[in-house]
Symmetry: C2
Subunit: 333 residues, 2 copies
Protein backbone atom coordinates (compact mmCIF):
# COMPACT_ATOMS: atom_id res chain seq x y z
CA UNK A 1 0.00 0.00 0.00
CA UNK A 2 1.56 3.26 -1.17
CA UNK A 3 0.03 6.18 0.63
CA UNK A 4 1.14 9.46 2.16
CA UNK A 5 0.03 8.50 5.65
CA UNK A 6 1.55 7.80 9.04
CA UNK A 7 -0.61 5.11 10.65
CA UNK A 8 -4.00 3.96 9.31
CA UNK A 9 -5.53 4.78 12.70
CA UNK A 10 -4.50 8.41 12.37
CA UNK A 11 -5.53 9.16 8.77
CA UNK A 12 -8.83 10.92 9.41
CA UNK A 13 -7.68 12.86 12.48
CA UNK A 14 -4.38 14.01 10.98
CA UNK A 15 -6.05 14.97 7.72
CA UNK A 16 -8.64 16.99 9.65
CA UNK A 17 -5.86 18.70 11.59
CA UNK A 18 -4.15 19.66 8.35
CA UNK A 19 -7.46 20.86 6.93
CA UNK A 20 -8.00 23.00 10.02
CA UNK A 21 -4.48 24.46 9.79
CA UNK A 22 -4.84 25.28 6.10
CA UNK A 23 -8.32 26.78 6.13
CA UNK A 24 -8.79 28.50 9.47
CA UNK A 25 -10.28 31.57 7.77
CA UNK A 26 -13.13 29.50 6.31
CA UNK A 27 -13.84 26.77 8.85
CA UNK A 28 -13.51 25.65 12.46
CA UNK A 29 -12.72 22.00 13.08
CA UNK A 30 -13.66 20.04 16.18
CA UNK A 31 -11.74 16.80 16.61
CA UNK A 32 -13.68 14.90 19.27
CA UNK A 33 -16.32 14.35 18.16
CA UNK A 34 -15.17 15.25 14.66
CA UNK A 35 -17.04 17.93 12.76
CA UNK A 36 -16.29 20.94 10.60
CA UNK A 37 -18.36 24.13 10.79
CA UNK A 38 -18.18 27.38 8.87
CA UNK A 39 -16.14 29.91 10.77
CA UNK A 40 -19.05 32.28 11.33
CA UNK A 41 -21.51 29.67 12.65
CA UNK A 42 -24.11 29.82 14.11
CA UNK A 43 -25.97 32.39 12.04
CA UNK A 44 -29.09 33.71 13.75
CA UNK A 45 -32.30 33.02 11.88
CA UNK A 46 -30.66 30.76 9.28
CA UNK A 47 -31.50 27.10 8.74
CA UNK A 48 -28.38 25.04 9.43
CA UNK A 49 -27.41 22.72 6.58
CA UNK A 50 -25.62 19.66 7.90
CA UNK A 51 -24.22 16.73 5.97
CA UNK A 52 -21.64 14.05 6.52
CA UNK A 53 -20.63 10.52 5.73
CA UNK A 54 -17.63 8.29 5.59
CA UNK A 55 -14.27 9.88 4.87
CA UNK A 56 -12.46 8.99 1.65
CA UNK A 57 -14.75 11.01 -0.64
CA UNK A 58 -12.94 14.34 -0.22
CA UNK A 59 -13.56 17.15 -0.88
CA UNK A 60 -17.07 15.87 0.02
CA UNK A 61 -18.27 16.94 2.62
CA UNK A 62 -15.81 19.09 4.57
CA UNK A 63 -14.62 20.92 1.46
CA UNK A 64 -18.16 22.25 1.00
CA UNK A 65 -18.52 23.88 4.40
CA UNK A 66 -18.80 27.66 4.22
CA UNK A 67 -21.00 30.57 3.30
CA UNK A 68 -23.65 29.58 0.77
CA UNK A 69 -23.29 25.83 1.19
CA UNK A 70 -22.93 23.61 4.28
CA UNK A 71 -22.94 24.93 7.83
CA UNK A 72 -21.44 21.69 9.12
CA UNK A 73 -20.01 18.39 7.94
CA UNK A 74 -19.41 15.23 9.96
CA UNK A 75 -16.62 12.97 8.70
CA UNK A 76 -16.73 9.31 9.68
CA UNK A 77 -13.89 6.83 9.45
CA UNK A 78 -12.94 5.92 5.88
CA UNK A 79 -16.07 4.63 4.09
CA UNK A 80 -17.86 4.41 7.47
CA UNK A 81 -20.81 6.43 8.68
CA UNK A 82 -20.24 9.14 11.26
CA UNK A 83 -21.98 8.63 14.60
CA UNK A 84 -25.13 10.26 15.99
CA UNK A 85 -23.15 12.09 18.68
CA UNK A 86 -20.98 13.75 16.00
CA UNK A 87 -24.08 14.84 14.13
CA UNK A 88 -25.77 16.09 17.30
CA UNK A 89 -22.77 18.18 18.34
CA UNK A 90 -22.43 19.54 14.80
CA UNK A 91 -26.05 20.58 14.51
CA UNK A 92 -25.91 22.24 17.93
CA UNK A 93 -22.80 24.18 16.84
CA UNK A 94 -24.66 25.65 13.87
CA UNK A 95 -28.02 26.19 15.59
CA UNK A 96 -29.30 29.59 14.47
CA UNK A 97 -32.73 28.90 16.04
CA UNK A 98 -34.32 28.32 12.63
CA UNK A 99 -33.97 24.54 12.56
CA UNK A 100 -31.61 22.38 10.53
CA UNK A 101 -31.67 20.23 7.43
CA UNK A 102 -29.72 16.98 7.24
CA UNK A 103 -28.59 16.07 3.72
CA UNK A 104 -28.01 12.32 3.84
CA UNK A 105 -26.59 10.07 1.15
CA UNK A 106 -28.62 6.85 0.95
CA UNK A 107 -26.47 4.37 2.84
CA UNK A 108 -28.00 2.31 5.61
CA UNK A 109 -25.52 3.44 8.28
CA UNK A 110 -25.85 7.12 7.39
CA UNK A 111 -29.66 6.91 7.33
CA UNK A 112 -29.82 5.21 10.72
CA UNK A 113 -27.35 7.52 12.42
CA UNK A 114 -28.79 10.74 11.00
CA UNK A 115 -32.25 9.55 12.14
CA UNK A 116 -30.94 8.99 15.65
CA UNK A 117 -29.26 12.38 15.61
CA UNK A 118 -32.49 14.01 14.43
CA UNK A 119 -34.35 12.42 17.34
CA UNK A 120 -31.71 13.59 19.81
CA UNK A 121 -31.76 17.13 18.39
CA UNK A 122 -35.55 17.26 18.51
CA UNK A 123 -35.38 16.21 22.15
CA UNK A 124 -33.28 19.32 22.68
CA UNK A 125 -35.97 21.44 21.07
CA UNK A 126 -34.60 21.81 17.53
CA UNK A 127 -36.64 21.42 14.34
CA UNK A 128 -34.94 18.94 12.03
CA UNK A 129 -35.75 17.88 8.50
CA UNK A 130 -33.85 15.27 6.48
CA UNK A 131 -33.52 14.75 2.76
CA UNK A 132 -32.05 11.51 1.44
CA UNK A 133 -30.05 11.74 -1.79
CA UNK A 134 -30.42 8.66 -3.99
CA UNK A 135 -29.36 9.63 -7.48
CA UNK A 136 -27.41 6.57 -8.63
CA UNK A 137 -29.38 4.80 -11.38
CA UNK A 138 -26.91 1.91 -11.62
CA UNK A 139 -28.56 -0.56 -9.25
CA UNK A 140 -31.45 -0.94 -6.85
CA UNK A 141 -30.20 -2.13 -3.46
CA UNK A 142 -26.48 -2.53 -2.99
CA UNK A 143 -23.85 -3.54 -0.51
CA UNK A 144 -24.66 -0.80 2.00
CA UNK A 145 -27.92 0.54 0.61
CA UNK A 146 -31.61 -0.25 0.38
CA UNK A 147 -32.83 1.45 -2.79
CA UNK A 148 -30.56 3.64 -4.84
CA UNK A 149 -27.21 4.93 -3.65
CA UNK A 150 -26.51 8.60 -3.08
CA UNK A 151 -23.53 9.79 -5.10
CA UNK A 152 -22.33 12.90 -6.95
CA UNK A 153 -25.67 14.72 -7.04
CA UNK A 154 -25.00 15.38 -3.35
CA UNK A 155 -22.61 18.22 -4.29
CA UNK A 156 -25.26 19.93 -6.39
CA UNK A 157 -27.87 19.43 -3.67
CA UNK A 158 -25.56 20.91 -1.04
CA UNK A 159 -24.75 23.94 -3.21
CA UNK A 160 -28.31 24.74 -4.25
CA UNK A 161 -29.86 24.01 -0.85
CA UNK A 162 -27.12 26.00 0.87
CA UNK A 163 -27.92 29.01 -1.30
CA UNK A 164 -31.61 28.76 -0.40
CA UNK A 165 -30.74 28.61 3.31
CA UNK A 166 -28.40 31.58 2.95
CA UNK A 167 -31.42 33.64 1.86
CA UNK A 168 -32.95 32.80 5.26
CA UNK A 169 -35.78 30.80 3.76
CA UNK A 170 -37.70 28.73 6.34
CA UNK A 171 -36.86 25.09 7.01
CA UNK A 172 -39.71 23.57 5.02
CA UNK A 173 -38.85 25.66 1.95
CA UNK A 174 -35.17 24.77 2.20
CA UNK A 175 -36.00 21.07 2.50
CA UNK A 176 -38.37 21.33 -0.48
CA UNK A 177 -35.57 22.73 -2.68
CA UNK A 178 -33.26 19.88 -1.65
CA UNK A 179 -35.98 17.31 -2.45
CA UNK A 180 -36.54 18.93 -5.82
CA UNK A 181 -32.84 18.63 -6.66
CA UNK A 182 -32.90 14.98 -5.66
CA UNK A 183 -35.99 14.29 -7.76
CA UNK A 184 -34.60 16.04 -10.82
CA UNK A 185 -31.04 14.64 -10.75
CA UNK A 186 -29.56 11.30 -11.80
CA UNK A 187 -26.02 9.88 -11.82
CA UNK A 188 -24.05 6.84 -12.86
CA UNK A 189 -20.39 5.99 -12.37
CA UNK A 190 -17.67 3.63 -13.55
CA UNK A 191 -14.23 2.53 -12.41
CA UNK A 192 -11.02 1.63 -14.19
CA UNK A 193 -9.24 0.66 -10.99
CA UNK A 194 -10.02 -0.15 -7.38
CA UNK A 195 -8.95 1.82 -4.33
CA UNK A 196 -7.30 0.79 -1.08
CA UNK A 197 -8.74 1.61 2.34
CA UNK A 198 -5.73 2.30 4.63
CA UNK A 199 -6.93 -0.06 7.37
CA UNK A 200 -7.43 -2.88 4.91
CA UNK A 201 -4.12 -2.41 3.11
CA UNK A 202 -5.03 -4.04 -0.22
CA UNK A 203 -7.35 -3.05 -3.10
CA UNK A 204 -11.08 -3.50 -2.41
CA UNK A 205 -11.50 -5.56 -5.57
CA UNK A 206 -9.48 -6.78 -8.51
CA UNK A 207 -10.12 -5.36 -11.94
CA UNK A 208 -7.97 -6.96 -14.66
CA UNK A 209 -5.91 -4.64 -16.88
CA UNK A 210 -8.41 -4.95 -19.74
CA UNK A 211 -11.65 -4.62 -17.77
CA UNK A 212 -13.75 -1.92 -16.15
CA UNK A 213 -16.77 -1.82 -13.84
CA UNK A 214 -19.84 0.03 -15.09
CA UNK A 215 -22.20 1.33 -12.39
CA UNK A 216 -19.64 1.22 -9.58
CA UNK A 217 -20.53 2.65 -6.18
CA UNK A 218 -18.36 5.22 -4.41
CA UNK A 219 -17.20 2.61 -1.91
CA UNK A 220 -16.28 0.16 -4.64
CA UNK A 221 -19.66 -1.58 -4.43
CA UNK A 222 -20.36 -3.75 -7.48
CA UNK A 223 -22.06 -2.05 -10.40
CA UNK A 224 -24.18 -3.34 -13.23
CA UNK A 225 -21.55 -5.29 -15.07
CA UNK A 226 -17.87 -5.83 -15.56
CA UNK A 227 -16.92 -5.44 -19.20
CA UNK A 228 -13.90 -5.10 -21.44
CA UNK A 229 -12.26 -1.71 -21.46
CA UNK A 230 -13.82 0.67 -23.99
CA UNK A 231 -13.05 4.07 -25.44
CA UNK A 232 -14.02 7.22 -23.57
CA UNK A 233 -16.79 7.86 -26.07
CA UNK A 234 -18.35 4.43 -25.51
CA UNK A 235 -18.00 4.83 -21.75
CA UNK A 236 -19.77 8.20 -21.88
CA UNK A 237 -22.60 6.54 -23.80
CA UNK A 238 -22.79 3.67 -21.31
CA UNK A 239 -23.28 6.18 -18.49
CA UNK A 240 -25.46 8.72 -20.28
CA UNK A 241 -28.00 6.26 -21.68
CA UNK A 242 -29.31 4.96 -18.32
CA UNK A 243 -29.18 8.45 -16.78
CA UNK A 244 -31.16 9.99 -19.63
CA UNK A 245 -33.75 7.25 -19.85
CA UNK A 246 -34.30 7.18 -16.08
CA UNK A 247 -34.71 10.93 -15.69
CA UNK A 248 -37.12 11.09 -18.57
CA UNK A 249 -35.37 14.15 -19.99
CA UNK A 250 -37.18 15.87 -22.84
CA UNK A 251 -35.86 17.95 -25.72
CA UNK A 252 -35.74 21.55 -24.65
CA UNK A 253 -35.00 20.80 -20.99
CA UNK A 254 -32.32 22.90 -19.32
CA UNK A 255 -29.75 20.79 -17.49
CA UNK A 256 -26.60 21.01 -15.43
CA UNK A 257 -23.98 18.50 -16.64
CA UNK A 258 -21.51 17.33 -14.00
CA UNK A 259 -18.58 15.04 -14.83
CA UNK A 260 -17.03 13.88 -11.58
CA UNK A 261 -13.67 12.20 -11.13
CA UNK A 262 -13.33 9.29 -8.70
CA UNK A 263 -9.95 10.55 -7.44
CA UNK A 264 -7.21 9.02 -9.56
CA UNK A 265 -8.33 10.20 -12.99
CA UNK A 266 -6.61 13.25 -14.53
CA UNK A 267 -8.66 16.28 -15.52
CA UNK A 268 -7.67 15.75 -19.17
CA UNK A 269 -9.65 12.53 -19.20
CA UNK A 270 -12.66 14.03 -17.42
CA UNK A 271 -12.87 16.66 -20.15
CA UNK A 272 -12.80 13.95 -22.84
CA UNK A 273 -15.78 12.34 -21.10
CA UNK A 274 -17.45 15.75 -20.74
CA UNK A 275 -16.99 16.40 -24.45
CA UNK A 276 -18.91 13.25 -25.41
CA UNK A 277 -21.56 13.63 -22.68
CA UNK A 278 -22.15 17.18 -23.90
CA UNK A 279 -22.56 15.89 -27.45
CA UNK A 280 -25.00 13.15 -26.38
CA UNK A 281 -27.06 15.56 -24.29
CA UNK A 282 -27.18 18.04 -27.13
CA UNK A 283 -28.34 15.33 -29.54
CA UNK A 284 -31.21 14.65 -27.14
CA UNK A 285 -32.15 18.30 -27.40
CA UNK A 286 -31.07 19.14 -23.87
CA UNK A 287 -29.69 22.60 -23.24
CA UNK A 288 -26.66 22.49 -20.95
CA UNK A 289 -26.92 25.75 -19.05
CA UNK A 290 -24.43 24.97 -16.28
CA UNK A 291 -21.40 22.65 -15.99
CA UNK A 292 -19.11 21.21 -13.37
CA UNK A 293 -16.00 19.12 -14.08
CA UNK A 294 -13.62 17.84 -11.43
CA UNK A 295 -13.02 15.34 -8.65
CA UNK A 296 -15.61 16.37 -6.07
CA UNK A 297 -17.03 13.05 -4.83
CA UNK A 298 -14.12 10.67 -4.81
CA UNK A 299 -13.33 7.12 -3.76
CA UNK A 300 -9.79 7.62 -2.48
CA UNK A 301 -7.43 7.06 -5.45
CA UNK A 302 -9.88 5.11 -7.62
CA UNK A 303 -9.59 5.85 -11.35
CA UNK A 304 -12.93 6.41 -13.02
CA UNK A 305 -15.71 8.92 -13.32
CA UNK A 306 -19.40 9.53 -12.95
CA UNK A 307 -21.84 11.61 -14.93
CA UNK A 308 -24.67 13.53 -13.28
CA UNK A 309 -27.49 15.35 -15.02
CA UNK A 310 -29.72 17.73 -13.08
CA UNK A 311 -32.81 19.16 -14.71
CA UNK A 312 -32.72 22.88 -14.04
CA UNK A 313 -35.19 25.74 -13.88
CA UNK A 314 -34.70 29.45 -13.33
CA UNK A 315 -34.81 29.16 -9.56
CA UNK A 316 -32.27 26.34 -9.40
CA UNK A 317 -29.97 28.23 -11.79
CA UNK A 318 -30.16 31.36 -9.64
CA UNK A 319 -29.37 29.34 -6.51
CA UNK A 320 -26.52 27.53 -8.29
CA UNK A 321 -25.04 30.89 -9.33
CA UNK A 322 -25.37 32.44 -5.85
CA UNK A 323 -22.08 33.26 -4.11
CA UNK A 324 -20.34 30.39 -2.33
CA UNK A 325 -17.22 30.42 -0.21
CA UNK A 326 -15.92 26.97 0.65
CA UNK A 327 -12.56 25.26 0.27
CA UNK A 328 -13.57 23.26 -2.79
CA UNK A 329 -16.27 25.34 -4.47
CA UNK A 330 -16.06 29.09 -4.46
CA UNK A 331 -17.27 32.02 -6.49
CA UNK A 332 -18.66 35.48 -6.04
CA UNK A 333 -17.15 36.00 -2.57
CA UNK B 1 -2.99 1.31 -20.11
CA UNK B 2 -6.26 2.21 -18.39
CA UNK B 3 -7.38 5.67 -19.38
CA UNK B 4 -10.59 7.45 -20.26
CA UNK B 5 -9.45 8.31 -23.77
CA UNK B 6 -10.34 7.50 -27.35
CA UNK B 7 -7.06 7.50 -29.29
CA UNK B 8 -3.73 8.80 -27.94
CA UNK B 9 -3.51 11.16 -30.93
CA UNK B 10 -6.76 12.85 -29.92
CA UNK B 11 -6.23 13.31 -26.17
CA UNK B 12 -5.18 16.95 -26.12
CA UNK B 13 -7.61 18.14 -28.79
CA UNK B 14 -10.63 16.30 -27.38
CA UNK B 15 -9.80 17.42 -23.87
CA UNK B 16 -9.56 21.02 -25.07
CA UNK B 17 -12.90 20.67 -26.84
CA UNK B 18 -14.50 19.43 -23.63
CA UNK B 19 -12.86 22.26 -21.69
CA UNK B 20 -14.25 24.76 -24.21
CA UNK B 21 -17.75 23.25 -23.99
CA UNK B 22 -17.74 23.26 -20.19
CA UNK B 23 -16.32 26.74 -19.58
CA UNK B 24 -17.49 28.96 -22.41
CA UNK B 25 -18.41 31.72 -19.98
CA UNK B 26 -14.82 31.99 -18.76
CA UNK B 27 -12.62 31.16 -21.76
CA UNK B 28 -12.42 30.93 -25.52
CA UNK B 29 -10.47 28.02 -26.98
CA UNK B 30 -8.71 28.00 -30.33
CA UNK B 31 -7.85 24.55 -31.62
CA UNK B 32 -5.38 25.16 -34.43
CA UNK B 33 -3.02 26.40 -33.25
CA UNK B 34 -4.15 25.45 -29.74
CA UNK B 35 -4.54 28.18 -27.15
CA UNK B 36 -6.98 29.26 -24.47
CA UNK B 37 -7.74 32.93 -23.80
CA UNK B 38 -9.96 34.61 -21.24
CA UNK B 39 -13.36 35.33 -22.73
CA UNK B 40 -13.00 39.11 -22.49
CA UNK B 41 -9.54 39.31 -24.14
CA UNK B 42 -7.93 41.51 -25.29
CA UNK B 43 -8.22 44.15 -22.56
CA UNK B 44 -7.06 47.58 -23.67
CA UNK B 45 -4.13 48.94 -21.72
CA UNK B 46 -3.50 45.72 -19.81
CA UNK B 47 -0.30 43.68 -20.00
CA UNK B 48 -1.14 40.25 -21.38
CA UNK B 49 0.03 37.37 -19.20
CA UNK B 50 0.78 34.31 -21.31
CA UNK B 51 2.00 30.92 -20.16
CA UNK B 52 2.00 27.41 -21.51
CA UNK B 53 3.81 24.14 -21.57
CA UNK B 54 3.26 20.48 -22.19
CA UNK B 55 -0.18 19.08 -21.45
CA UNK B 56 -0.55 16.51 -18.68
CA UNK B 57 -0.15 18.98 -15.80
CA UNK B 58 -3.80 20.09 -15.66
CA UNK B 59 -5.26 22.33 -14.35
CA UNK B 60 -1.94 24.07 -15.21
CA UNK B 61 -2.06 26.19 -17.39
CA UNK B 62 -5.49 26.36 -19.06
CA UNK B 63 -7.33 26.13 -15.74
CA UNK B 64 -5.71 29.40 -14.70
CA UNK B 65 -6.90 31.51 -17.63
CA UNK B 66 -9.31 34.24 -16.62
CA UNK B 67 -9.71 37.57 -14.91
CA UNK B 68 -6.91 38.21 -12.43
CA UNK B 69 -4.58 35.47 -13.66
CA UNK B 70 -3.56 34.37 -17.17
CA UNK B 71 -4.78 36.04 -20.35
CA UNK B 72 -3.71 33.05 -22.42
CA UNK B 73 -2.31 29.54 -22.10
CA UNK B 74 -0.71 27.39 -24.81
CA UNK B 75 -1.01 23.62 -24.31
CA UNK B 76 1.56 21.42 -26.03
CA UNK B 77 1.26 17.70 -26.60
CA UNK B 78 1.53 15.64 -23.40
CA UNK B 79 4.83 16.56 -21.66
CA UNK B 80 5.94 18.39 -24.82
CA UNK B 81 6.54 22.08 -25.32
CA UNK B 82 4.01 24.10 -27.29
CA UNK B 83 5.31 25.66 -30.50
CA UNK B 84 6.29 29.28 -31.22
CA UNK B 85 3.34 29.73 -33.62
CA UNK B 86 0.90 28.78 -30.86
CA UNK B 87 2.51 31.28 -28.54
CA UNK B 88 2.55 33.99 -31.19
CA UNK B 89 -1.13 33.56 -32.02
CA UNK B 90 -2.02 33.49 -28.31
CA UNK B 91 -0.14 36.66 -27.49
CA UNK B 92 -1.70 38.43 -30.46
CA UNK B 93 -5.16 37.36 -29.29
CA UNK B 94 -4.60 39.04 -25.91
CA UNK B 95 -2.75 42.10 -27.16
CA UNK B 96 -4.10 45.08 -25.24
CA UNK B 97 -1.33 47.33 -26.60
CA UNK B 98 0.52 47.32 -23.28
CA UNK B 99 2.91 44.47 -24.04
CA UNK B 100 2.92 40.93 -22.75
CA UNK B 101 4.73 38.82 -20.18
CA UNK B 102 5.63 35.20 -20.86
CA UNK B 103 5.77 33.05 -17.73
CA UNK B 104 7.97 30.10 -18.70
CA UNK B 105 8.79 27.00 -16.70
CA UNK B 106 12.46 26.16 -17.00
CA UNK B 107 12.53 23.37 -19.56
CA UNK B 108 14.81 23.62 -22.57
CA UNK B 109 12.02 23.25 -25.15
CA UNK B 110 9.77 25.79 -23.47
CA UNK B 111 12.61 28.30 -23.11
CA UNK B 112 13.62 27.96 -26.75
CA UNK B 113 10.10 28.19 -28.13
CA UNK B 114 9.00 31.10 -25.93
CA UNK B 115 12.19 32.94 -26.98
CA UNK B 116 11.35 32.41 -30.64
CA UNK B 117 7.77 33.53 -30.03
CA UNK B 118 9.03 36.64 -28.25
CA UNK B 119 11.22 37.49 -31.24
CA UNK B 120 8.30 36.99 -33.63
CA UNK B 121 5.98 39.12 -31.50
CA UNK B 122 8.58 41.87 -31.25
CA UNK B 123 8.88 41.83 -35.04
CA UNK B 124 5.16 42.60 -35.07
CA UNK B 125 5.73 45.56 -32.80
CA UNK B 126 4.82 44.10 -29.41
CA UNK B 127 6.82 44.58 -26.21
CA UNK B 128 7.55 41.20 -24.65
CA UNK B 129 9.18 40.29 -21.36
CA UNK B 130 9.82 36.76 -20.13
CA UNK B 131 10.28 35.38 -16.65
CA UNK B 132 11.61 31.86 -16.18
CA UNK B 133 10.32 29.93 -13.18
CA UNK B 134 12.93 27.60 -11.67
CA UNK B 135 11.81 26.77 -8.14
CA UNK B 136 12.67 23.08 -7.87
CA UNK B 137 15.55 22.66 -5.41
CA UNK B 138 15.83 18.90 -6.01
CA UNK B 139 18.52 18.88 -8.70
CA UNK B 140 20.62 21.15 -10.87
CA UNK B 141 20.27 20.18 -14.52
CA UNK B 142 17.86 17.44 -15.36
CA UNK B 143 16.48 15.42 -18.23
CA UNK B 144 14.90 18.40 -20.02
CA UNK B 145 16.43 21.29 -18.09
CA UNK B 146 19.62 23.28 -17.70
CA UNK B 147 19.58 24.62 -14.15
CA UNK B 148 16.62 24.08 -11.89
CA UNK B 149 13.23 22.89 -13.08
CA UNK B 150 10.12 25.03 -12.91
CA UNK B 151 7.35 23.33 -10.96
CA UNK B 152 4.50 24.21 -8.59
CA UNK B 153 5.61 27.79 -7.82
CA UNK B 154 4.33 28.55 -11.34
CA UNK B 155 0.75 28.63 -10.01
CA UNK B 156 1.63 31.20 -7.37
CA UNK B 157 3.59 33.26 -9.90
CA UNK B 158 0.68 33.22 -12.33
CA UNK B 159 -1.83 34.26 -9.65
CA UNK B 160 0.25 37.06 -8.16
CA UNK B 161 1.55 38.38 -11.48
CA UNK B 162 -1.94 38.20 -12.97
CA UNK B 163 -3.27 40.35 -10.15
CA UNK B 164 -0.57 42.95 -10.76
CA UNK B 165 -1.41 43.03 -14.47
CA UNK B 166 -5.12 43.34 -13.69
CA UNK B 167 -4.30 46.63 -11.92
CA UNK B 168 -2.93 47.85 -15.27
CA UNK B 169 0.61 48.13 -13.99
CA UNK B 170 3.18 48.60 -16.77
CA UNK B 171 5.07 45.67 -18.27
CA UNK B 172 8.34 46.20 -16.41
CA UNK B 173 6.53 46.37 -13.06
CA UNK B 174 4.52 43.24 -13.82
CA UNK B 175 7.66 41.37 -14.83
CA UNK B 176 9.41 42.54 -11.66
CA UNK B 177 6.66 41.09 -9.47
CA UNK B 178 6.93 37.76 -11.30
CA UNK B 179 10.72 37.73 -10.82
CA UNK B 180 10.28 38.50 -7.15
CA UNK B 181 7.93 35.53 -6.72
CA UNK B 182 10.43 33.28 -8.48
CA UNK B 183 13.30 34.51 -6.31
CA UNK B 184 11.37 34.09 -3.08
CA UNK B 185 9.80 30.68 -3.76
CA UNK B 186 11.17 27.13 -3.58
CA UNK B 187 9.65 23.69 -4.18
CA UNK B 188 10.47 20.02 -3.99
CA UNK B 189 8.41 16.98 -4.96
CA UNK B 190 8.25 13.23 -4.58
CA UNK B 191 6.46 10.32 -6.23
CA UNK B 192 4.97 7.09 -4.95
CA UNK B 193 4.10 5.86 -8.43
CA UNK B 194 4.89 6.63 -12.06
CA UNK B 195 2.49 7.87 -14.70
CA UNK B 196 1.73 6.71 -18.23
CA UNK B 197 1.89 9.00 -21.25
CA UNK B 198 -0.94 7.89 -23.59
CA UNK B 199 1.32 7.69 -26.64
CA UNK B 200 3.86 5.58 -24.80
CA UNK B 201 1.36 3.22 -23.26
CA UNK B 202 3.42 2.03 -20.31
CA UNK B 203 4.65 3.68 -17.08
CA UNK B 204 7.55 6.13 -17.50
CA UNK B 205 9.57 4.34 -14.85
CA UNK B 206 9.24 1.46 -12.43
CA UNK B 207 9.00 2.15 -8.75
CA UNK B 208 8.83 -1.01 -6.62
CA UNK B 209 5.95 -1.35 -4.16
CA UNK B 210 8.19 -0.43 -1.19
CA UNK B 211 10.10 2.49 -2.76
CA UNK B 212 9.56 6.14 -3.58
CA UNK B 213 11.43 8.80 -5.53
CA UNK B 214 12.44 11.96 -3.65
CA UNK B 215 12.97 15.06 -5.79
CA UNK B 216 10.95 13.80 -8.77
CA UNK B 217 10.27 16.13 -11.70
CA UNK B 218 6.79 16.74 -13.05
CA UNK B 219 7.59 14.68 -16.16
CA UNK B 220 8.88 11.80 -14.10
CA UNK B 221 12.49 13.01 -14.37
CA UNK B 222 14.77 11.36 -11.81
CA UNK B 223 15.04 13.09 -8.47
CA UNK B 224 17.69 13.08 -5.78
CA UNK B 225 17.34 9.54 -4.65
CA UNK B 226 15.16 6.49 -4.61
CA UNK B 227 14.54 5.30 -1.08
CA UNK B 228 12.36 2.94 0.91
CA UNK B 229 8.82 4.11 1.50
CA UNK B 230 8.51 6.28 4.61
CA UNK B 231 5.71 7.75 6.68
CA UNK B 232 4.02 10.98 5.61
CA UNK B 233 5.76 12.82 8.44
CA UNK B 234 9.21 11.69 7.30
CA UNK B 235 8.35 12.52 3.69
CA UNK B 236 7.27 16.03 4.70
CA UNK B 237 10.61 16.45 6.47
CA UNK B 238 12.53 15.16 3.43
CA UNK B 239 10.87 17.82 1.27
CA UNK B 240 10.80 20.70 3.75
CA UNK B 241 14.45 20.50 4.81
CA UNK B 242 15.99 21.24 1.37
CA UNK B 243 13.35 23.87 0.62
CA UNK B 244 13.92 25.67 3.89
CA UNK B 245 17.70 25.57 3.75
CA UNK B 246 17.80 26.70 0.11
CA UNK B 247 15.45 29.64 0.57
CA UNK B 248 17.31 30.83 3.63
CA UNK B 249 14.06 31.41 5.51
CA UNK B 250 14.41 33.24 8.82
CA UNK B 251 12.29 33.12 11.93
CA UNK B 252 9.58 35.72 11.66
CA UNK B 253 9.24 35.47 7.87
CA UNK B 254 5.73 35.40 6.46
CA UNK B 255 5.20 32.53 4.01
CA UNK B 256 2.61 30.93 1.77
CA UNK B 257 2.62 27.13 2.18
CA UNK B 258 1.43 25.17 -0.84
CA UNK B 259 1.04 21.39 -0.79
CA UNK B 260 0.45 20.21 -4.35
CA UNK B 261 -0.80 16.81 -5.43
CA UNK B 262 0.76 15.10 -8.45
CA UNK B 263 -2.63 13.89 -9.69
CA UNK B 264 -3.31 10.46 -8.21
CA UNK B 265 -3.04 11.32 -4.53
CA UNK B 266 -6.25 11.87 -2.53
CA UNK B 267 -6.82 15.17 -0.73
CA UNK B 268 -6.84 13.33 2.60
CA UNK B 269 -3.17 12.51 2.13
CA UNK B 270 -2.24 16.01 0.97
CA UNK B 271 -3.68 17.37 4.22
CA UNK B 272 -1.61 14.89 6.25
CA UNK B 273 1.48 16.25 4.48
CA UNK B 274 0.26 19.82 5.00
CA UNK B 275 -0.19 19.15 8.71
CA UNK B 276 3.45 18.13 9.14
CA UNK B 277 4.83 20.82 6.80
CA UNK B 278 2.89 23.40 8.79
CA UNK B 279 4.39 22.04 12.01
CA UNK B 280 7.94 22.11 10.59
CA UNK B 281 7.54 25.64 9.25
CA UNK B 282 6.15 26.81 12.56
CA UNK B 283 9.09 25.24 14.44
CA UNK B 284 11.39 27.31 12.21
CA UNK B 285 9.54 30.41 13.33
CA UNK B 286 7.86 30.97 9.97
CA UNK B 287 4.42 32.49 9.98
CA UNK B 288 2.13 30.81 7.47
CA UNK B 289 -0.13 33.62 6.35
CA UNK B 290 -1.62 31.94 3.27
CA UNK B 291 -2.16 28.30 2.21
CA UNK B 292 -3.03 26.28 -0.83
CA UNK B 293 -3.72 22.54 -0.87
CA UNK B 294 -4.75 20.56 -3.94
CA UNK B 295 -3.68 19.03 -7.24
CA UNK B 296 -2.79 22.10 -9.29
CA UNK B 297 0.43 21.09 -11.08
CA UNK B 298 0.02 17.43 -11.87
CA UNK B 299 1.83 14.68 -13.73
CA UNK B 300 -1.15 12.84 -15.17
CA UNK B 301 -2.16 10.17 -12.63
CA UNK B 302 1.15 10.07 -10.72
CA UNK B 303 0.76 9.57 -6.94
CA UNK B 304 2.89 11.93 -4.90
CA UNK B 305 3.13 15.52 -3.82
CA UNK B 306 5.30 18.58 -3.74
CA UNK B 307 5.76 21.30 -1.15
CA UNK B 308 6.28 24.94 -2.09
CA UNK B 309 7.18 27.77 0.24
CA UNK B 310 6.92 31.37 -0.93
CA UNK B 311 8.27 34.15 1.23
CA UNK B 312 5.54 36.78 1.36
CA UNK B 313 5.31 40.49 2.04
CA UNK B 314 2.31 42.81 2.26
CA UNK B 315 2.24 43.48 -1.47
CA UNK B 316 2.41 39.81 -2.45
CA UNK B 317 -0.33 39.00 0.07
CA UNK B 318 -2.57 41.73 -1.33
CA UNK B 319 -2.00 40.47 -4.87
CA UNK B 320 -2.62 36.87 -3.78
CA UNK B 321 -5.92 37.91 -2.18
CA UNK B 322 -7.07 39.94 -5.19
CA UNK B 323 -10.16 38.59 -7.02
CA UNK B 324 -9.54 35.79 -9.51
CA UNK B 325 -11.98 34.07 -11.85
CA UNK B 326 -10.56 31.00 -13.54
CA UNK B 327 -11.73 27.41 -13.84
CA UNK B 328 -9.33 26.09 -11.20
CA UNK B 329 -8.72 29.04 -8.88
CA UNK B 330 -11.50 31.44 -8.11
CA UNK B 331 -12.50 33.85 -5.41
CA UNK B 332 -13.95 37.30 -4.98
CA UNK B 333 -15.70 37.33 -8.37
Amino acid sequence: MKKLINHPDDVVRESLEGFANAHSSLVRVNLDPAYIVRSDAPIAGKVGIVSGGGSGHEPLHGGFVGAGMLDAACPGAIFTSPTPDQMLEAVKAVNGQAGALFIVKNYTGDIMNFEMAADLAREEGMSIESVVINDDVAVNDSLYTAGRRGVALTVLAEKITGAAAEQQRPLDAVAAICRQVNEQGRSMGMALTSCTVPHVGHPMFNLPEDEMEIGIGIHGEPGRRRVKLQSANVIAEMLMEPVLSDMNAKAGDDVLLFVNGMGGTPLTELYIIYRKANEIASKHGLKIIRSLVGSYVTSLEMAGCSITLLKMNDELATLWDAPVRTVALRWGI
